[in-house]
């Protein structure tokens, strides 16, 4: 059963106010709490490892899968393996996300290992939100790992959001794209306190006309640390772009390492990285509109991460 704290966290990570429509698997405190399957989407518990297999039939359209995870007991540490098998020409939305409420003194940790297998022409929009709260001394730790295998002409759009609350994250994403496949990544991150967030991407463009765009926008406050390491490898005529745009505040530290590797004459690859503090002019402009300095700063940061 889902309790009140869990309900609130589900709202934060999956915008779920009630039972979702379509297929879902809600995992709470290291076990499946609720599940629903549909005619086109099946969810099967793994027998060898903790986790699930999600099977989406070919040509499934306009359906969604929600697989939120909630940890509300202090001290839980789990590694979960979820595999997504997306059939030819299916077009679906997958909403993942993990929320930790830790009011105890032990660390809570969820390491989600997601593997995506997109068959020819499959389209996936993947949304993942991380959230942490609770006033305990125990840390809230999330280490998501994704492996993405994209067959010809498949498209994957990933939106990853982590705004405050998570003490430590190491995100590791690897993707292999065949001809005509397209991967778009939008990462939004805000760290504060003594939080640490690291993101690593390796996108291999293996087939003709494969393309990718990996973009991160982040704000680092207080004493937090961020590392963004994004590498695009072009092994065929392909296009790739990666960008890291960060606002640094207080005593934070940010390391941006965009990397490109071209192994084909017609691989067109671009990277951009910018780190800077909030411009004084931006604050002054908002002061002249009647905002206080705190309100102005909040407005600028919220806009940047929108």
């Amino acid at each position: 059963m889902i309790d009140e704290i869990q309900k609130r966290i589900l709202q934060e990570v999956a915008d779920l106010h009630e039972t979702p429509v379509g297929a879902y698997n809600i995992r709470a405190n290291a076990e499946t709490a609720e599940r629903n399957t549909t005619e086109n989407i099946d969810i099967v518990t793994k027998t060898d490892l903790p986790g699930i297999d999600i099977y989406i039939k070919a040509n499934t359209k306009n359906e969604s899968v929600h697989i939120p995870v909630v940890l509300s007991e202090s001290g839980i540490k789990e590694t979960v393996y979820n595999d997504f098998h997306i059939g030819e020409n299916a077009d679906v939305v997958i909403v993942a996300g993990c929320g930790i409420h830790n009011s105890g003194s032990s660390d809570s940790q969820h390491d989600g290992i997601h593997r995506f297998y997109l068959e020819k022409g499959a389209k996936v929009k993947y949304v993942e939100k991380h959230y942490g709260d609770g006033d305990g001394m125990g840390k809230r730790i999330l280490n998501p790992k994704a492996e993405i295998y994209m067959d010809e002409d498949s498209v994957m759009e990933m939106e990853m959001v982590q705004i405050k609350g998570v003490d430590s994250t190491i995100r590791d994403t690897k993707a292999d794209l065949k001809a005509g496949a397209k991967l778009l990544v939008r990462e939004r991150l805000m760290t504060h306190g003594n939080q640490v967030a690291e993101s690593e991407y390796i996108v291999n463009l293996l087939g003709e006309n494969a393309s990718t765009d990996v973009v991160s926008r982040s704000v680092a406050k207080d004493n937090s640390y961020q590392r963004f390491d994004s590498k695009i490898v072009g092994n065929a005529p392909c296009t790739g772009h990666t960008e890291c745009d960060a606002i640094i505040m207080d005593n934070a530290k940010i390391l941006a390492i965009p990397q490109l590797e071209a192994n084909d004459l017609d691989a067109a690859l671009i990277h951009e990285a910018a780190i800077g503090k909030i411009a004084g002019d931006q604050i002054i402009k908002l002061l002249t509109l009647g905002l206080t300095e705190e309100e102005a700063e909040e407005q600028i940061v919220n806009g940047f991460l929108k």
Binding site: A279, Q282, L287, G290, E293
Partner: protein
């Protein structure tokens, strides 16, 4: 409504003390359209910033509707009813034109209301409300959005710091039309820092600043003939002939 008493402003750098403004006394009455002009480096922009609270005078007092605002912050002055348009409008990643107009209005104005302000500055509202106030906008577009934020605020005093700076001639023609319309419709006083003849030409009063002091002040009819042809009143064509005057003092 606005009264500057013995305002002085100085800066110190490695070359020593430099006085930018010396004993400036100025009164702006209710519902007046006043233009402050003067050659580059005369202290015009500094004076505008002192009124908005961005710079603090080294000496002197500022009164707004009888209240001493000399020690008030930018925010407090904004709340009292002073608006300030930047010479170089600021860009914001992720903040939309609609957001900026809402912040300016101090409430969640409707898209229709936002469109009204944009139309008043000659922008096709539909195309702009959902644009980001970022580098994708041209200098002229930013300038007009800046003016629209002042319209949305609707305060009793609006200060514009060299609205003609950094825009092309074609946009400048449109800008003049916007100010002409504002002159007719706006309730409250408008104070513009400019040395453009076309802007001086629609003023009720002209104040000439030179070397940090007010050298002349009076109605347009008195002052304009005296300063025409000097660097305090340049025409758009002069600007063109000179290969573009950088108005950035």
């Amino acid at each position: 409504m606005l009264e500057l008493k013995n305002i002085s402003f100085g800066v110190s750098d490695e070359k020593g003390e430099k006085e930018i403004l010396k004993n400036v006394n100025l009164n702006i009455d209710d519902n007046k359209f006043v233009v402050i002009t003067g050659p580059n480096g005369s202290g015009k922009s500094t004076l505008a910033k002192i009124i908005a609270g961005i710079e603090k005078p080294t000496e002197g007092k500022i009164f707004f509707d009888g209240t001493d605002i000399t020690d008030m912050s930018i925010t407090e002055r904004a709340k009292l009813g002073i608006s300030f348009a930047f010479q170089q409008p600021v860009r914001f990643k992720g903040i939309y034109v609609l957001d900026l107009l809402r912040i300016a209005a101090g409430k969640d104005i409707s898209v229709t209301d936002a469109c009204k302000y944009l139309s008043e500055v000659g922008l096709c509202a539909r195309d702009y409300v959902n644009r980001e106030v970022n580098a994708s906008l041209s200098g002229g577009e930013l300038k007009r959005i800046e003016i629209a934020t002042l319209l949305a605020r609707g305060t009793s005093l609006s200060v514009f710091d060299e609205p003609e700076a950094g825009i092309d001639l074609w946009s400048f023609q449109n800008l003049i039309a916007v100010f002409e319309r504002m002159r007719e419709t706006t309730k409250g006083s408008i104070l513009i820092i400019s040395h453009q003849e076309r802007i001086l030409n629609i003023a009720d009063e002209i104040v000439v600043l030179a070397n940090g002091t007010i050298s002349k002040t009076g109605s347009k009819d008195e002052i304009l003939p005296e300063i025409l042809g000097t660097t305090a009143a340049v025409s758009s064509c002069d600007r063109l002939d000179k290969g573009g005057d950088k108005c950035n003092d």
